[in-house]
């Protein structure tokens, strides 16, 4: 284990020093393991771990490359943290989402483009006539991601991605559908969108707080009380 960690640290050091930059191909395994003084096994395990957190991209039959290293890409790889924590932690996750997402909306209000607003309006209109959970989840992901991207802060966007797994979203939307609360939830999206359209940061922030807090309240009731 310690050897694998050393191998990870060595590769990381090569990236931080700029010896390896985004999109660059790693030297062949044999050469790299000799240079770093590591066994090929340790190197392979390190590469595998770095692949999982999206630092490296292993293209079979081609070679191993450094990814774009965009924060959004790297943080997305952490979204399984949310998948793994479906019980009590889900509320902690939502509390942080409420914070980050409302901040992102506040920033987005003055930065979002007319094109993005138009495509969100179309997406919302389509979702309004749908009762298919999958279609609703797709709209939901598009809606929230567009706002976090429009914030212009890739760390915010990346953390929000990390905290919003598709699995968790699907679960929430199934619940919303079963309760017949789809309309109300989409109206909340509509309120957020109109605040963004008028470019009002305070209103955008408030609309997001109301929306996420509503889901939190729903989760609080829906969660089994068994966990801790």
């Amino acid at each position: 284990m310690a050897v694998t960690e050393d191998a990870i640290a060595s590769i990381k050091a090569m990236i931080v020093s700029g010896e390896l930059s985004p999109g660059m191909r790693l030297p062949p395994e044999k050469e790299l393991s000799e240079r770093l003084g590591l066994s090929r096994n340790s190197l392979r395990e390190a590469v595998k771990s770095l692949e999982i957190i999206r630092v490296l991209d292993v293209r079979r039959g081609d070679g191993t490359y450094v990814t774009s290293l965009e924060p959004a890409l790297l943080l997305e790889a952490m979204s399984f943290v949310v998948d793994l924590h479906q019980d009590r932690s889900v509320l902690e996750v939502f509390a942080v989402r409420r914070l980050l997402e409302s901040h992102a909306a506040e920033l987005a209000a003055t930065r979002i483009s007319a094109d993005t607003i138009a495509s969100l309006q179309a997406s919302l209109a389509a979702a309004t006539h749908s009762d298919d959970v999958e279609a609703l989840v797709a709209h939901d992901i598009q809606f929230h991601r567009a706002i976090s991207e429009a914030s212009g802060n890739s760390y915010l966007a990346g953390m929000l991605d990390a905290l919003s797994s598709a699995t968790a979203r699907a679960r929430v939307w199934r619940g919303i559908t079963e309760e017949g609360a789809v309309q109300r939830t989409l109206e909340e999206h509509s309120a957020i969108l109109s605040a963004l359209t008028t470019g009002d940061p305070d209103l955008a922030r408030a609309a997001v707080v109301v929306h996420v807090a509503g889901i939190e309240a729903w989760l609080q009731k829906a969660l089994p009380k068994t966990a801790e």
Binding site: M1, T4, E5, I8, A9, K12, A13, I15, V16, S17, G18, R44, E45, A46, K48, S49, E51, I52, I53, V55, V58, R60, L69, P71, L74, L75, A77, M78, F80, V81, D83, L84, H85, Q86, S89, E92, V93, A95, V96, L99, L100, H103, G152, N153, S154, Y155, L156, G158, M159, A162, L163, T167
Partner: protein, 247 residues
């Protein structure tokens, strides 16, 4: 994630084991079946299994205990979000303002929550950190390395007092050692450190009074000082040195 033909054996192992955890077939601290059985049930080679298990260990999802087998960890969010600090270390200087403002949003919220929940014991810990901070400032020359560590410790205690481990894990991730080292080197003059000390003391005072609004304002103010500095100055030297070099 969907299973595809191009998935390597170790990817498959990672995917399947995560799935078993998500579906509750494997719970925190559970022991994994022996290698031979697990390789058979996942339909992978033992080499592929071992590689996948190592990767999951590095990610804090599994741990191998010498002589007793492989276990699921307690799946603590702070461990699972640890790669975040890696992300931070890999970023470029021009993104430092964005990184720092994301950190400010999180830490400001944490300070507000901490004002509600902080315990007497945690307040005593903050006081102790402040005492050592003052001492480090009074040294001649000023002990910059000690101040860096005390600063880190102060923010860690506040994040912990927020009682939201996800918030705490994100803050810890964004405040990687390397980054703090760079910032501190950039701000490295005695006057900036004196000011930082006064700001920390104001945060601690608001927490002691259990005043969430004041704690939030004091924390935001403290972090904005650094943020404004980053906005004004050309990008600080973001050269390779991992950690803080003793300069």
């Amino acid at each position: 994630v969907t299973i595809t033909d191009s998935m390597s054996q170790s990817d498959l192992v990672v995917y399947r084991i995560k799935d078993m955890i998500i579906r509750g077939e494997l719970s925190p601290n559970a022991r994994l079946p022996v290698e031979k059985d697990l390789a058979e049930s996942l339909n992978v080679s033992r080499g592929g299994l071992r590689e996948g298990v190592r990767a999951l260990s590095v990610l804090g999802i599994l741990e191998t205990r010498q002589g007793s087998g492989t276990f699921v960890t307690d799946l603590n969010p702070s461990m699972l979000l640890a790669p975040l600090s890696f992300v931070v270390d890999l970023q470029h200087a021009d993104d430092a303002v964005n990184l720092h403002s994301a950190r400010r949003v999180l830490e400001t919220e944490a300070a507000g929550q901490a004002a509600k929940f902080i315990t007497e014991e945690q307040i005593a810990q903050l006081d102790e950190v402040l005492g050592r901070f003052e001492l480090a400032l009074s040294m001649d020359p000023v002990d910059h390395q000690a101040i860096l560590e005390l600063d880190n410790e102060f923010h860690r205690i506040v994040a912990e007092a927020s009682r939201n481990p996800i918030l705490g894990a994100l803050i810890a991730g964004l405040s990687s050692r390397t980054l703090r080292g760079r910032l501190l080197r950039a701000l490295n003059d005695d006057r900036a450190e004196q000011a930082a000390f006064a700001e920390h003391r104001a945060i601690a005072a608001a927490l002691r009074e259990h005043a969430p609004d004041r704690a939030q304002l004091r924390m935001a103010n403290h972090l904005l000082v650094v943020e404004d500095f980053l906005r004004q100055e050309p990008a600080p030297d973001f050269e390779a040195s991992a950690g803080v070099s003793g300069e």
